[in-house]
């Protein structure tokens, strides 16, 4: 269906708002409900919405498959890497207190990085899964 002007215009307006909202959820997670996981899902939902309306090919131009795959892997690596870093700095695994001169700041940095890792992985994974399902459908049709 190529002539869905209304949908396209609406999606063009909504998608940036969704992505922005995802970032809000990500960084507001310390003060209210939200966090890496929800943000990742919402971000992915934005891209998926774009893909649903504009088609898989255009979505993959905006957000290539390899990027999604890289994100899926690197989020986990970031999370585990924070653990390794705290280990190298002399703490226990995932002990954020050693990440900065002051345990309080260390915890803040740690949580920030870790939540970022969660968001990156979740976003990458959800988009990858959607791409794979959608690509399967295109072959069938």
């Amino acid at each position: 269906m190529s002539d869905q002007v209304i949908l396209r215009v609406a999606v063009k307006i909504i998608v940036p708002m969704i992505l922005l909202y995802a970032l809000y959820v990500q960084f507001h997670g310390d003060f209210g409900p939200g966090g890496g996981f929800q943000a990742g899902v919402i971000f992915a939902a934005g891209i998926i919405l774009y893909g649903l309306v504009f088609g898989l090919r255009r979505a993959q131009k905006v957000f290539p498959t390899w990027v999604a795959r890289l994100m899926a892997a690197s989020g986990v690596l970031l999370y585990a890497g924070v653990g390794i870093a705290s280990l190298l700095l002399g703490g226990r695994y995932l002990d954020y207190s050693v990440l900065a001169h002051d345990p309080h700041h260390g915890q803040h940095y740690g949580i920030l990085l870790v939540e970022l890792g969660v968001m990156i992985t979740v976003c990458g994974v959800m988009i990858t899964i959607f791409y794979f399902f959608a690509a399967r459908g295109r072959e069938t049709l």
Partner: protein, 490 residues
């Protein structure tokens, strides 16, 4: 750095998995996976040695003390299971290269290594953790990767097998979650040691129900007799290397979970006296041994035959556990290790056959004794070990099992164990007969399996023989683990 070994053991394969998934070439992923698995094995051995020297290792993740944060708590039992899983992992990874290259589409191979590494991570995580919810999380890592790995098998029935496994596995996991939730509701904690302390104070109907749900949930993962149907198809249709890995590790870890929950968390007092679980598990284990062995005799597919045999062997392990004495538990825990060696060797031999012949049906075995002498010799030795011929590891575990049964005064049980062994003679003989006493009728030349497949197979066969002769090492550790579980001895 050595104090961080328990967590590094799990985190290193965890970090290797995404890296492997990003690699484009199967060989590179293979190198990474193999290297990782060997490092893991080295660490597991170090941990086992340290636990034996120094006693329980406790590691607070994130630096938060036990009930507040998550704890890794490694005693002899954990270290033993970690060693088994790591050892099989270290042998399966080198084996997987040739096997995957023959059975799997090339573009997917790096992903399969990632899957194997994740499965390894999950199993190690289950075995290392001292927190019940963390156990569930790692259980799911291993299960989800196992579903995908099984579905990668070449036959379309692999898909259905994986689906059935997924459904049963998810029911099992959900039951485990319900059990954990009820324990949490009564005690307010998730830490195993803390639970063990608090549960006796609140023993009640809720705790009994939690116990029941955990038992059923773990039995599903364990493929204990009436719940074993998923295992047959899963082992039959999975890619060869995956079958080797899952058959020799996944069910072992499930047995570990069972003994951990029964003996360490609920405590022998509650499990044995209040719930009397052994009177439920003992008959089931016996039925598993007899019926699965009997069915195995009639199988026309060797992988399926071995899968039935696995169900029977799981029966032996549970039999040992449900005898609930030091000797019985020792037999069960020894059989964890021994069965991993036996089934690893047998399934690896079948992987070699699959590689060269393309089928593991009984007809395909005809004349292979001459065509693939090393492969079939490995199978014969593994088979002897499965039967329990003296001089092999199989004998050691059967010996302890019969000893435990006699100790408990259950002569019938001891006799049934021997009957099970006789049945094993029957089904192993069927394969041997086809391989050595029938002529090869195929039209194309069958060659010897490549060395990269034969080497891991023979390492396992050699281990079968070595630990069969020199059993002091393994039985020593197993006995100590049994004593730890029952809370007797040092």
């Amino acid at each position: 750095m050595s104090e961080h070994l328990p967590v590094l053991l799990v985190v290193i394969p965890l970090m290797a998995a995404p890296t492997a998934a990003l690699l484009r070439w199967g060989r590179a992923a293979w190198g990474l996976a193999t290297g990782t698995s060997w490092v893991v094995l080295a660490m597991a051995l170090l941990i086992l040695r340290r636990v034996q020297d120094e006693g329980v290792i406790s590691y607070f993740l994130g630096g938060w003390a036990a009930p507040i944060g998550i704890e890794y708590r490694i005693d002899t039992v954990n270290a033993w299971v970690l060693m088994i899983v790591a050892a099989i992992g270290a042998l399966v990874m080198p084996y997987a290269r040739a096997s995957f290259e023959r059975e799997i589409q090339p573009s997917k191979i790096p992903l399969l290594y990632a899957g194997l590494l994740l499965c390894l991570t999950g199993l190690l995580g289950i075995a290392a953790t001292g927190d019940v919810f963390n156990l569930f999380v790692f259980l799911e890592i291993s299960s989800i990767s196992a579903y995908a790995l099984i579905a990668a098998g070449p036959d379309r029935r692999a898909l259905h097998a994986a689906y059935k496994y997924l459904i049963m596995g998810s029911i099992g996991a959900t039951f485990i979650v319900i059990g954990i939730g009820m324990m949490y509701a009564m005690t307010g904690t998730l830490n195993m040691a803390d639970l063990a302390q608090r549960l006796p104070e609140v023993s009640s109907r809720t705790v009994s129900v939690a116990f029941a749900f955990l038992t059923v949930g773990i039995s599903l993962k364990l493929a204990l007799f009436p719940l074993h149907l998923w295992l047959l198809d899963a082992y039959t249709f999975a890619p060869s290397a995956v079958t080797v890995f899952l058959a020799s590790t996944a069910t072992k870890v499930a047995v570990y979970m069972l003994v951990r929950f029964f003996f360490s968390i609920f405590g022998p007092g509650f499990s044995l006296e209040v719930m009397a679980f052994h009177w439920v598990l003992l008959p089931l284990a016996l039925i598993a041994v007899i019926s699965a062995s009997l069915t195995a005799i009639y199988q026309l597919n060797v992988k399926r035959l071995l899968a039935y045999s696995s169900v029977a062997q799981i029966g032996y392990m549970i039999l040992g556990v449900s005898l609930a004495s030091v000797t019985g538990l020792t037999a069960g825990l020894l059989h964890l290790f021994n069965h991993a060696l036996i089934k690893g060797a047998l399934f690896m031999a079948m992987g070699c056959v699959m590689y060269q012949v393309g089928s593991v049906r009984m007809e395909a075995m005809r004349g292979l004794g001459k065509k693939m002498p090393w492969t079939m010799a490995a199978f014969v030795l593994g088979g002897l070990s499965l039967i329990g011929v003296p001089g092999t590891v199989g004998f050691i575990s059967k010996w302890y099992l019969v000893l435990a049964a006699v100790e408990a005064g259950m002569w019938v049980v001891a006799a049934l164990v021997l009957v099970g062994s006789l049945m094993a003679v029957a089904y192993v003989w069927k394969v041997v007969e086809a391989a050595y006493f029938q002529e090869y009728k195929g039209e194309f030349e069958v060659r010897q399996a490549p060395i990269s497949l034969l080497a891991p197979t023979w390492v396992l066969v050699a281990a079968n023989l070595y630990f069969g002769v020199n059993a002091t090492l393994t039985s020593g550790v197993a006995t100590r683990a049994a004593e730890v579980l029952l809370g007797v001895g040092p």
